[in-house]
Symmetry: C2
Subunit: 268 residues, 2 copies
Amino acid sequence: MEAKKKKFIKELLTKSKARRESGLYIVDGPKMCKELKAYDIESLFVTKNFLESENAASCKNLLESVAYELVTEADMKQLSDTVTPQGIVALVKQKKNIDIKELLSESKDKTPLLFILEKLQDPGNLGTIVRAAEAAGVTGIVMSSDCADIYSPKVVRSTMGAIFRVPFIITDDLCSFVNEIKAGKYTEGVKFNIYAAHLKGAKEYDLLSYIEPTAVMIGNESKGLSDELTGCADYAVKIPMCGTVESLNAAMAAAIIMFEAGRQRRHK
Amino acid sequence: MEAKKKKFIKELLTKSKARRESGLYIVDGPKMCKELKAYDIESLFVTKNFLESENAASCKNLLESVAYELVTEADMKQLSDTVTPQGIVALVKQKKNIDIKELLSESKDKTPLLFILEKLQDPGNLGTIVRAAEAAGVTGIVMSSDCADIYSPKVVRSTMGAIFRVPFIITDDLCSFVNEIKAGKYTEGVKFNIYAAHLKGAKEYDLLSYIEPTAVMIGNESKGLSDELTGCADYAVKIPMCGTVESLNAAMAAAIIMFEAGRQRRHK
């Protein structure tokens, strides 16, 4: 395998700038790769061992529709950021930033439920939130551009594939976005309820309704939501906690609110 | 610092056998150390830099009541398994396995809510579950002895201190335990509802009541609950999921059920 190509992939694994500039990212392992569409793939790398393993069967469609490059085990180690590479790595095109109108119209008959993330820093948290969002039936995720890079290998891996399925938008101006959906700009005047998850929230999260179009805002792991964004909310909401626990992990807090919303929507 | 002592602490950091045999474990950093009681501490190690830092104030009581050993920065690196040690590490006595009768009578007026963990393997998951359990008002956690070691540094750290406050029991025979509480053996004949979290559960978790004495069983991350333990349950319960998500992370699933139980109990 060419040294230049190896170097490029190394950069995609480690640098968000390289990912942003190239519009590419790395998907690692058969479980995630098998979900890829051929037209999203820029390059596909496999080892001989992988082709001869049981796992190859799960990627059969992919291996038949994409011209892959056979690489040595040693090369594969450099294409993967895991300790034990699984023998298949894809170089994948990033999704275009989807249009908010498109996102909200895609949710058609159902009422939109958005989760809005401000400056979320931990890749594991971000990945877990995307995974939980899909499970809870969240319409889409909106991130400030200073969140952890959703295309970093750790985020991609911890979404367990949900990154391919949950629509998301990255924006430089979260506050304007929130004010726009609040006013019903993209939903023919139908206004959103905006809730800000906040340790000092006045409302308990489970005493609010998530049945109407709703957006829930989750802040940075250590600082929480900015005052500016909290100020955009209809309510600051808290998860009541027993004991002397100061806070829940951000992903946990998000998931608890997501599933409360899901619960209400299933039983409405 | 003595080489022998350093070696012993290294073993406590890395080997559950060393922790089990000595009945000791390591607590790292001011945030956790400040919660320790003097009589729980076997030894306390601090650096000069720590004593001169702002963080020392938060541990004032501890530093005044325990004879600490001053160690060099280089030694501190060996006493901590974190990349940037915070300058204070305690060698702490493990809690005695608390008696189940004691645990259930401690919950006095409130109705017990137990979480039962079978062969949970990931330290981060275990720690997160203990942390969420405190926040959700869970009475106690019961673990099979083949769960990840609750006293491992990673678990201790990810509980964020909840390990000091959430009562827990470790048992070799989870099935007998479950059958005993189910029959009301420790609660003067008051029976427990036993729910098994299961991907193929027939009941949705939020259609069951957690108002009576309740125990919820959570299984191993990849294999789920054993058939034997599932067989002890009154109901196998599932968290309904949208999309093509196969499962939630075990800690996430546990937390969602915990907070549903907490929600029902707050609003009963």
